[in-house]
Amino acid sequence: MASDQPLLRMEQIDKQFPGVHALDHVDFDLYEGEVHILLGENGAGKSTLMKILSGSIPRDSGRIFIQGDEIGPLDPERAQELGIGMVYQELSLVPSLSVAENLFLGQLPRTQIGAVDWPEMFRRAEESLAELRVDIDPRSEVRELEVAEQQLTEIARILTHRPRILLLDEPTSALSDAERERLFEIMDRLRTRGVSIVYISHRLAEVPRVGQRVTVLRDGQKIGTLPVEEADEDTLVRMMVGRELTEQFPKHDVEPGEPILRVQDLSLDGFLSDISLELHEGEILGIFGLMGAGQTELARAIFGLEAKSSGRLYINGQQVNIRRPTDAIRHGMGFLTRDRREGLVPMLPIPPNVTLAGVSQIPLLGRLKLQNEKEIGAQFVRDLRIQPPSLDRLVNYLSGGNQQKVVLARWLASGSKILIFDEPTRGIDVGAKAEVFALMDELTQRGVGIIMISSEMPEILAMADRILVMRSGEFTAEFARGEATQERILRAAS
């Protein structure tokens, strides 16, 4: 923070996506040799702001200055010329190529006759990696590396372009504590070399360790910028959450009954360690976690989609062995996947999609009850108000909300007593959301137990009887209904 003029200044950046005001006239600046942390909930606009700066998406309006000079439209090449380098959330390496080839992809060193200069490339790759003080063999294939090493390779690759401004989008979600610390050391070194860094994070705890200033975004708006000395966790959480809860969630009080599902010491290598939980009849158990906390893996492991390393499952007090989904279905479980497309067979109409879970419960050459199937299809089309109410229409041509209802209908039709919903409202509109919640409420009144995994805090607060918070594959907190607040949940999750 030597000079008074910022290296980078973004003024009134605005971006609309269909139906979403992703960035609402946001200002942002960055000084030379500074690490500036960008915080916000999912969908707050952090990644959008960084993608605009790296030229991968255009801005609708707003001005960008580097060292006081205004720069016009940005595309990735132009951003690279200006010394802006971005490390994306999702890795963009070629797994089957060597580390060195990945580092210099698109700018491979050449010999005089135009062939690739392999010795020169490996020499320069070793140099680049040594500069970061990371111990990776430039000759090894990227797919053989650990995720953390891949992440470091990605960073090294961006650094071969000698950026003045480095954008790191949530690089720590895949890293362990030790690896994260190593990354911070690298950031410190880069900073002393005069590289300025924008660091997007979900983790409040690391704020004082890595940065000098913090900017908080919420719903596409800038809430404020603080020096880290003033940015204690309470302040940051208030800034990040800050919105009113709207009461549009139908939820009746249900007296939870007997435990129907008990998970004991469930582990999944690299994702979950010794998870235990209990689900009661008529209960909605909310599980909240930030991206990659292991909540999806937990759901998939319970349902037999992932091989558990250890752990026991009890249903109605009886220990059960669930090795694949058909076992789970036989024991009365149902699973709504995070991605709707993983749940539907697009080129079949509604009735076979609704009854699909029953297919595995009859022998291969056993007869389907086609008439029965039509009636079940018709019943759910009516009960769930699926539009249009056609039994012949392929589900491929239904809207997102109606597709979600079809998958829901499958688990209602299978008579499941234990339902696991992974992000049940993802990508569906407000009206359909309310219908999904009403349905969940009705199910619990019939004694069904629901595990609701959601990253939408208002939804989980309103619907869940009990909330478990996950971080790095473990539960870090449990709240009873009414006890939880967005602040407390977020603090436990990050």
């Binding site: 297919v359 419960q361 050459l365 056993g366 389907l368 009636e375 009516r382």
Partner: protein, 358 residues
């Protein structure tokens, strides 16, 4: 919801049912346009040929076309099951050859087996053996694909060559029965086998009836059994099938095994028609059967289609080959035309689906 559901169902579903009947005609018409592409192609081809040559519509020629198409149709039914599950079976021709060869050798030769002289076995033993060999070969395909997790294309490319090789070993590279073995052991293929390939019932070729029966069996499996539904689900969306509890490996092994069974039957009937089995018979049938499936409107990537389309597809190929023969088109040009027709039919089919699809 509980009380109302049971009583209300009748009344509530009644109006849509009535509406469906009213819209039924229009729907049916749309269905014809939507699904009838291959049939339209076959009709056009038939009309053209009956105008172009007086021989096409003759009874003996139509019988001939039926016999020729029957083998492709039988193999194409198994191929349809495999392709619907998002697989591909390149070994159907080889499985037909190995099944027919093994059965033919056993039915015409006396073999030393563990010190005992066996055979020649009668027809009623030979037919089950052919079917069993095909079934086993198909099962091996499915097993290799699912357990070693290699692509269907590669696995069946490998077994295609392997099965042909084993068939060569079994027959010693000679036709069965050949002049050599025939004089030595006076074995001939049983009459019933020749009847299956070349006989008629009330004037209708037996091979055609068998093909029709196989098509019906394929249709019943696809429409009415759990296996059929699982096949569409696995081919349409593997992940959804998995989440719904469907055992993907078992489904794939089942469809490959059925494909082998049908190839065994097809090979047996073909050997009956030719009055001879050999290790290299049914050459090119793997591609013919795939062409028939695709012409029949089944999605090559799985999940959509059915066996009746494949029957029409086999007939299109058969009629085309026959017509080109009748028109004295040279064999070289026949290949050119056959290739072009496959492309044209599928292009037309795609266009029609985009135009009339929902």
């Amino acid at each position: 919801m509980t009380e109302k559901t049971s009583t209300g169902r009748e009344t509530v579903t009644a109006p849509p049912a009535a509406a469906a009947e009213a819209g039924g005609l229009r729907d049916a018409l749309q269905q014809v346009l939507l699904r009838g592409g291959p049939l339209i192609a076959l009709t056009l081809l038939g009309v053209y040929l009956s105008l172009a040559t007086p021989y096409f519509l003759s009874f003996s020629n139509l019988s001939n076309v039926t016999r020729q198409s029957a083998i492709t149709a039988i193999l194409a039914v198994g191929q349809t099951l495999v392709i619907l599950s998002a697989g591909i079976d390149l070994s159907v021709g080889a499985m037909a050859a190995i099944s027919a060869s093994v059965a033919a050798v056993l039915m015409t030769q006396r073999l030393e087996f563990l010190g005992m002289a066996v055979g020649p076995v009668p027809f009623l033993v030979g037919l089950p053996i052919a079917l069993a060999v095909g079934t086993l070969a198909g099962f091996i395909n499915g097993f290799v694909i699912t357990k070693s997790r290699i692509p269907d294309f590669i696995a069946t490319l490998g077994t295609l060559t392997t099965y042909r090789g084993i068939a060569l070993l079994v027959t010693g590279g000679l036709p069965v029965p050949s002049h050599l073995t025939a004089t030595e052991l006076k074995g001939y293929l049983p009459d019933q086998m020749l009847w299956l390939g070349g006989g008629t019932v009330l004037g209708v070729p037996v091979a055609g009836l068998i093909a029709l029966g196989v098509v019906v069996i394929g249709w019943v499996i696809l429409r009415y059994t759990a296996l059929g539904r699982a096949t569409y689900a696995v081919g349409g969306n593997r992940e959804a099938a998995r989440v719904s509890g469907i055992n993907i490996d078992r489904t794939k092994i089942a469809v490959y095994t059925l494909s082998g069974l049908m190839a065994g039957l097809g090979g047996f009937v073909l050997a009956g028609r030719l009055n001879s089995a050999n290790a290299l018979m049914a050459d090119g049938q793997e591609l013919n059967s795939i062409a028939a499936v695709v012409i029949g409107g089944t999605n090559l990537f799985g999940g959509e289609g059915g066996v009746f389309g494949s029957l029409i597809g086999a007939l299109v190929l058969g009629v085309l080959a026959n017509g080109l023969n009748l028109l004295n088109v040279s064999d070289f040009w026949q290949r050119v035309f056959q290739g072009l027709v496959i492309i044209l039919v599928v292009v037309f089919d795609q266009w029609r689906r985009r135009r009339f699809g929902r």
